[in-house]
């Protein structure tokens, strides 16, 4: 278990002095700030918190934080972070990456991570483009759309990451918006606090390359039943409660999954944000511990295997017995 600080640190304690090279107006700034606020409010000690980054503009979040951080490979933030969490479940693990990183090159890991329910938060900065490599179409860009860098409109359909998360087993599925600091911070806190694999997909304007879905575009009012309303709408406003009360109740699970699926798809003129689905299931570590009790006693990083003279203490007598005739 990650310890909680008696006296929470201020947000400043989670900030590093490293120069930030994101473009002015980038949604990533809002996300970085909300993450630092969330950690401070949760009272998580920086030395017991690890932020892992993929490769992309989004992958640099760790670089601007004062906690343990690793920059991994393009598309590989999930396996790296899962390996780390399994090795030391006592640390709080947060993986941060881009939409290209997680839903494109890393899509295989994304799918299989859902099956495991490792207790960690996966935060995806979804800007519909490959920001760092100059704005090529990402897997979430819809068909027919043509962002600034594209010579022709996109002829692929866009992936629906939250729907994919639903069918692959993520146990907390939410969406938020980079410039809605309050909502975003709450969503990050929930994703971190959820015991299991959480996917938080964050709509992130990229002013440099995504000229279709800009902050101004998200701020524009839309018409619904003759009324002028905001484009982003919370699931609460839509009367959706995606939290499963009884995970063993198949009817409740199916019903909420179906509703979540509808809402994830629902765009029309409005984009729902909030928690679409949450279910409490045994985490991967709990599943492993039930098979390998020693992992309950110690996390792998703490299992002793050498004595004071650095000689191995692992007892292979039984294993030798099996092969000695």
């Amino acid at each position: 278990m990650v310890s909680k600080l008696q006296v929470p640190l201020t947000v400043a304690a989670y900030k590093s002095d490293v120069h930030n090279d994101w473009c002015p107006g980038c949604g990533d700034f809002g996300i970085l700030q909300a993450l630092q606020q969330a950690l401070a409010e949760l009272g998580l000690p920086p030395w017991e918190t690890m932020v892992f980054g993929g490769i992309g503009c989004s992958g640099k979040v760790f670089n601007y934080m004062a906690c343990y951080g690793v920059h991994t490979l393009h598309g590989r933030v999930l396996p790296f972070a899962m390996g780390a969490k399994l090795a030391n479940p006592d640390l709080e693990v947060i993986a941060v990456g881009g939409d290209g990183d997680g839903y494109g090159i890393g899509a295989g890991h994304f799918v299989h991570a859902g099956r495991r329910n490792v207790d960690m938060a996966y935060i995806v900065l979804n800007n519909e483009v490959y920001g760092l490599t100059k704005g090529q179409a990402s897997p979430t860009l819809d068909r027919g759309q043509q962002t600034k860098s594209l010579p022709l409109p996109n002829i692929n359909d866009g992936i629906k990451p939250l729907a994919l998360a639903l069918v692959t087993g993520y146990t907390w599925i939410g969406r938020s918006y980079a410039f809605d600091g309050k909502h975003l911070k709450e969503m990050i806190k929930q994703a971190i606090e959820h015991k299991g694999m959480a996917l938080l997909d964050i709509i992130q304007p990229c002013p440099t390359y995504n000229d279709l879905h800009t902050a101004e575009w998200f701020n524009k009012k839309v018409k619904e039943e003759e009324k002028s309303v905001s484009k982003l709408v919370t699931v609460e406003e839509l009367k959706h409660d995606g939290v499963i009360k009884d995970p063993t109740n198949r009817d409740e699970v199916f019903e909420k999954q179906r509703k979540a699926f509808d809402l994830i798809q629902y765009r029309g003129e409005r984009i729902p944000i909030g928690v679409f689905y949450q279910i409490k299931l045994p985490t991967y570590i709990e599943r492993m511990q039930s098979q390998v009790p020693m992992l309950k006693k110690y996390s792998p990083v703490r299992i002793p295997y050498a004595d004071a003279n650095h000689l191995p203490t692992t007892d292979l007598t039984d294993a030798f017995e099996e092969i000695t005739f």
Binding site: W47, V70, P79, A81, P300, F320
Partner: protein
């Protein structure tokens, strides 16, 4: 006479060749006799030709030998293919109710067994194997008790099965006494305490004693044996063992775990290793210790899934973009797998870099008896420079990638208070923070690249130098690497006995390379011959790239079958007598050949119309 017998057991896959071989090998181990087994199986579950060769001796055999003294044929195909290989004085055991031998070679005794009579007409087909092994043990002059106790051991939970097998084996044992002549070459039991084990099992066990607590895998022959050992032992040893979606995930998880301070390792074959390479470079730049095993099989691509080759040296040397310190080592025998993996963990942690172990199908899936005392030896666990509460730099600035004379920077495990750091896969400064993109700084870049490269000097001091085996004054020096140590050693000794003085320089550590020491040896050698199991001479190129030295001649084999001593002996003789520069060896015995049905392109016109 060397008190040694080589036995072939062959049949269709599914005939129980492996279980017959195991029963025999285990009985030998129980009698204190050393075994070296090579299984030339095909990648099929049923059908196909499966052939096992076991070399049994009171002295440890280093390879599967040249020829067979005994044959246990479980199907007609085996009888046809391998009967001609038997040496004079040899014995061929087969089921007389089903199989008919062609003419036996001179001096070979045919031993037909009336299986139905001995095992009962209702017995399961596999009982023929049991009867045959019983007969074989008799003809080898060994006691029945060993075989009986193996059955008791294998079927411990099923007393009825033990009884059926013991009575079938005894029937074969007694029948052979009455009807056949024993081998003239007798074997005697010894007091050696022996374990029978594969290289893959030893890689798993070695990792376990070294304190490995994290093993992730994706199945791929011939590396899956490591997973198959790890998975059932995870519980008692407290190892986190997982099978995941692909090898990219495997290596990234392994590095993620290693980054947190766990000793973590993964094993795959060439195709999976190819997927892992980008991440190995990551381990290089973020200086995370990790061990990756590539159990080589025939390539390229899907290649020869069930056959052996030493053709991934180039891949290991070229794994991942950029320059970074790495260690590449190739165990030289099955038992060396046990030691190699323990060394690999120590090196990885001492130098905070990836270690690549190039094992090979021949070692990983081959069976060998090992003295139990060898397995009980204790190798010190050395974790390198770790920040502990005692030596913590609490209060001072902590630089994870501190530029030190050795290039090794003291490592804090995440979770240590007051030692926060980030590790970037972009080039970074001593604090781990990215310096690329906007702020690429040539001076810092060079400083950090040099720091990492300096580690290679330290590694060279640690790894043992290659040394010459055999006489210093030799006519021929055979150079080899990895799995071929045993077969070259035997060939060199045999050549020397025949009057061609031969010594042997063998490489276990391939990167980094002891350039000066190796050149000192090779400069004094008269005729140097490199023996390797690949087509293009990957080691020959490596040697010349490192030292500028070009060997006089080469023996190469890439047909999927391992070297036998005779291949190397003949090769050296051809090089000496005919001045050949390259001898390519091919295993051409009929036993290695398999008839293939024609592909779709070779149907005749008539067949198409019909």
């Amino acid at each position: 006479m060397k008190n040694e017998l080589t036995i072939g057991i062959g049949g269709a896959a599914g005939d129980g060749v492996a279980s017959a071989g195991n029963t025999l090998a285990q009985s030998m181990a129980r009698l204190g006799l050393y075994v070296y087994a090579y299984n030339s199986y095909q990648s099929v579950i049923r059908g196909g030709h499966s052939y096992l060769r076991l070399r049994i001796s009171a002295q440890k055999p280093l390879n599967h030998g040249n020829q067979i003294n005994g044959l246990v044929a479980l199907n007609q195909d085996t009888l046809n293919r391998h009967l001609p290989e038997l040496l004079a004085g040899g014995i061929c055991i087969y089921n007389n109710d089903k199989l008919k031998p062609e003419k036996a070679p001179p001096g070979v005794q045919l031993c037909p067994l009336p299986i139905y009579e001995l095992a009962g007409s209702t017995a399961l087909p596999v009982m023929q194997n049991t009867v045959a092994i019983g007969a074989l043990i008799q003809l080898m002059g060994l006691e029945f008790q060993a075989l009986e106790s193996v059955f008791q051991n294998v079927f411990a939970k099923k007393p009825q099965v033990v009884a059926i097998n013991v009575s079938a084996a005894k029937a074969g044992f007694d029948y052979a006494l009455k009807h056949f002549k024993p081998f003239s070459e007798k074997l005697y039991k010894t007091n050696n305490r022996l374990a029978l084990v594969t290289g893959n099992e030893l890689l798993g066990m070695g990792a376990a004693v070294a304190g490995c607590k994290f093993y992730v895998a994706y199945p791929m022959s011939p590396a899956s044996g490591v997973l198959h050992w790890m998975a059932p032992h995870a519980k008692e040893l407290g190892i986190c063992v997982r099978q995941v979606e692909d090898e990219i995930s495997v290596i990234n998880m392994a590095i993620g775990a290693a980054h947190m301070g766990v000793r973590s390792i993964c094993a795959t074959s060439g195709g999976g290793f190819a997927l892992m390479t980008e991440a190995l470079g990551m381990a290089g730049i973020i200086e995370t210790p990790v061990v990756a095993i590539n159990v080589m099989r025939g390539g390229p691509s899907t290649g020869l899934p069930t056959k052996t080759e030493q053709a991934d040296l180039n891949q290991a040397i070229g794994a991942s973009q950029g320059d970074y310190p790495r260690i590449i080592m190739a165990p030289i025998s099955i038992s060396d797998c046990f030691v190699s993996v323990q060394e690999a963990f120590n090196f990885a942690e001492q130098f905070q870099c990836p270690v690549i172990i190039l094992s090979e199908l021949l070692l990983s899936e081959g069976n060998e008896t090992v003295n139990v005392e060898f397995l009980e030896q204790e190798i010190k666990i050395e974790r390198g420079e770790l920040i502990t509460p005692e030596n913590s730099t609490m209060g001072k600035t902590y630089l994870r990638y501190l530029d030190t004379p050795s290039g090794v920077s003291p490592r804090a495990i995440p979770g240590t208070p007051d030692h926060l750091y980030v590790s970037a896969t972009d080039e970074h400064d001593e604090d781990g923070v990215i310096i690329s993109d906007v702020y690429t700084d040539p001076v810092i870049r060079k400083k950090m690249a040099d720091k990492r490269a300096r580690k290679m000097q330290g590694i060279l001091q640690k790894i043992s130098k290659p040394s010459l085996e055999g006489s210093n004054e030799a006519e021929v020096t055979i150079i080899g690497w990895g799995s071929t140590w045993g077969v070259i050693k035997e060939a060199a000794e045999q050549l020397t006995q025949e009057g061609i003085k031969t010594n042997h320089l063998h490489f276990k550590y391939l990167v980094p390379f002891h350039v000066k020491e190796v050149l000192d040896i090779l400069k004094k050698s008269k005729k140097t011959v490199i023996v390797e199991m690949n087509q293009s001479g990957q080691f020959a190129r490596h040697l010349s790239a490192e030292t500028g030295f070009r060997a006089h001649a080469h023996i190469r084999k890439y047909d999927g079958e391992p070297y036998e001593p005779k291949h190397i002996i003949n090769g050296i003789k051809q090089i000496l007598s005919q001045g050949k520069e390259i001898v390519e060896v091919l295993s051409t015995e009929p036993g290695w050949r398999t008839p293939h049905p024609p592909g779709p392109g070779v149907f005749t016109q008539a067949a198409r119309i019909n």
